[in-house]
Symmetry: C2
Subunit: 354 residues, 2 copies
């Protein structure tokens, strides 16, 4: 039994959503990318019994893992436990999470014929377990006034996994295809944008109150000229469609510090930034007509509290109380972070800004 | 028998050295990072018989491999065949190049005591094979008027290998030490800068006509604030000392597009840039009082000639004939590049600018 939830009740009260809309908030909201993760013993206990994909594809488990950090810390938003890659399965790719090695796609895209063959299923057709997990998690979160974030991978980052067959150091195959077969690239990116946009809309239908697109590898792979030519049109498409859901959208990328203006031009109510520029410099580049999310260096959580506190203070000082700052890391939390550092971080951000 | 060479005869005639000094040149000089490498069958033939470290540490082999791309293509400079990591061996680290996996350090630096223990040998004490290889290669190159580039790793990039024990995705251990133990970090970086500076000076003594420091991972790991605090002072030290050799110095880094001004402030007659900003934008940020080296995306060499040519034309158009441009890739050449693309690239750059 998957309950139907009254998601709209969240929108009016949650500090996180107020910040997404650049409204004044009682304190600076905070959540952490990969907040449901290996650094938590509760998470490890689940993963000791179930594989990565199994947890993602079992609504009760995914919802449980989603709630773990919410129950442990005073975070201002939950994010549905999943990964950016499972939607590639529905498109026809054979995805496996190999223990200790990360994702592996057994039949990567190597030709235009492979791109032709990629399916574009609706979210209901292939992502139902995650949509059900969202319903379950939202049913728990809504009464507590905590918004749930839905998410997807942005087209380029997904394309890079689809073509490289896993992680990559240099994105050589992806970029070679992009440079050499522009029509095939366009088709691939449109298919990815279409599937992801539909998935984002379905997540809001299921109970997500905000949406984030992860373009994790855009800036590591591409310079500004290529970003504008080969990524921006498809990210625009994604954010235009996602905006129809009426939920705030977060446009997150890394390695794009040199061209944040072009990133912001893709859309998103909130621009998520990595740690490579100070928050004030990044925000000035993005423009104050957007909210900003970030940007503590994830490594800071591996340092003793006085060092960590100094870095948190710096981020907060640079945000300078301006409406529209959501505190987060610049990328996902590391597996070996001490739980106590997370607790102190969350509490401190609330205390220092409240 | 290692011959003594008359290296100074090179300085007056080579187009590459003229470009380093921002003098007008008859054409745009070109060399390629990792130009002696796996894409060449001649190189593979050597590596089929000898391990990576063995080639580097046998002067005759290292010199032979250095000359291979010079004999195959009309390149304007040679670079001594080695790697940035062997100097760590002399400092006390147990380095191995593991086939298919890259470098591995069996006793990485994990404590301040480890840093205390690191030795700071003179180049003659620990890098003699490479210095001998430089003598051998320069003896061949000098009569042909081709300059030989000596090089080293910049302190941060070496520190990251020393601490992580190999390559890293997130530099978490390096940054945690840097943030947590500033005095130990200072000691480590000073030791590395000292050893590398001595090594650079010795390379010029042995016959190198120019020097490059590779800070390959600086920008992937650190934002601008940390770069200025934890890297810049030591790179300044390195370039100040290296300048005493009287040979042009090249300051190369990647991922630093967002703060090229701070990179240039470290020193170097030439700033080597990756492909993430167009060459004209990068040069404007660096300032025209420096030469610039770059910045073709290495992936371009995997594409058919019309696509490759378009990208080369773009780099050349953005250099706009300004004195002080050295054509190069934005990072090392890939192992699977077709040899014919390299030949066409080198010839085309000369023809298009001559």
């Amino acid at each position: 039994m998957i309950p139907v939830i009254e998601k709209r009740t969240l929108v009016k009260t949650a500090v996180f959503l107020q910040a997404c809309r650049r409204e004044e908030t009682a304190y600076t909201p905070i959540w952490l990318m990969r907040q449901a993760g290996r650094y938590m013993p509760e998470y490890q206990a689940i993963r000791a019994q179930y594989g990565m994909l199994e947890v993602m594809q079992t609504p009760e488990l995914a919802a449980e893992v989603t709630l773990q950090p919410i129950n442990a810390f005073g975070l201002d938003a939950a994010i549905i436990f999943s990964d950016i890659l499972p939607p590639l399965i529905g498109m026809g790719l054979d995805l496996e999470f190999v223990k200790g090695e990360g994702p592996l796609i057994h039949n990567p895209v190597t030709s235009t014929a492979d791109i032709e063959r990629l399916r574009t299923p609706s979210a209901a057709e292939h992502m139902q377990p995650t949509l059900d997990a969202i319903r379950l998690a939202a049913a728990e979160l809504t009464p507590r006034g905590i918004p749930l974030i839905g998410f997807c991978g942005a087209p380029f980052t997904l394309a890079s996994y689809a073509i490289e067959g896993g992680g990559s150091k240099n994105y050589a195959k992806t970029k070679a295809l992009m440079y050499t077969e522009p029509a095939a690239w366009d088709q691939l990116m449109r298919k990815l944008a279409t599937v992801q946009a539909d998935y984002l809309l379905a997540q809001v239908e299921a109970g997500a109150s905000a949406l984030q697109a992860f373009d994790s590898w855009a800036g590591l792979a591409l310079g500004v000229k290529d970003y504008v030519k080969y990524i921006q049109p498809y990210n625009k498409l994604l954010f235009e469609k996602a905006a129809q859901a009426g939920a705030p959208t977060i446009n997150f990328s890394t390695g794009t510090a040199a061209y944040l203006g072009e990133v912001a031009a893709c859309g998103g109510d909130v621009i998520g930034v990595d740690w490579r520029l100070p928050l004030d410099v990044a925000w000035a580049k993005i423009g104050y007509d957007r909210a900003i999310q970030g940007n503590l260096d994830p490594v800071a959580l591996l340092t003793p509290w006085p060092v960590l506190k100094e870095k948190v203070d710096d981020v907060l000082a640079r945000a300078n109380g301006r409406a529209g700052h959501i505190f987060n890391l610049g990328h996902g939390i590391f597996p070996n972070v001490p739980v106590d550092n997370v607790r102190r971080l969350v509490d401190y951000v609330h205390e220092a800004t409240g």
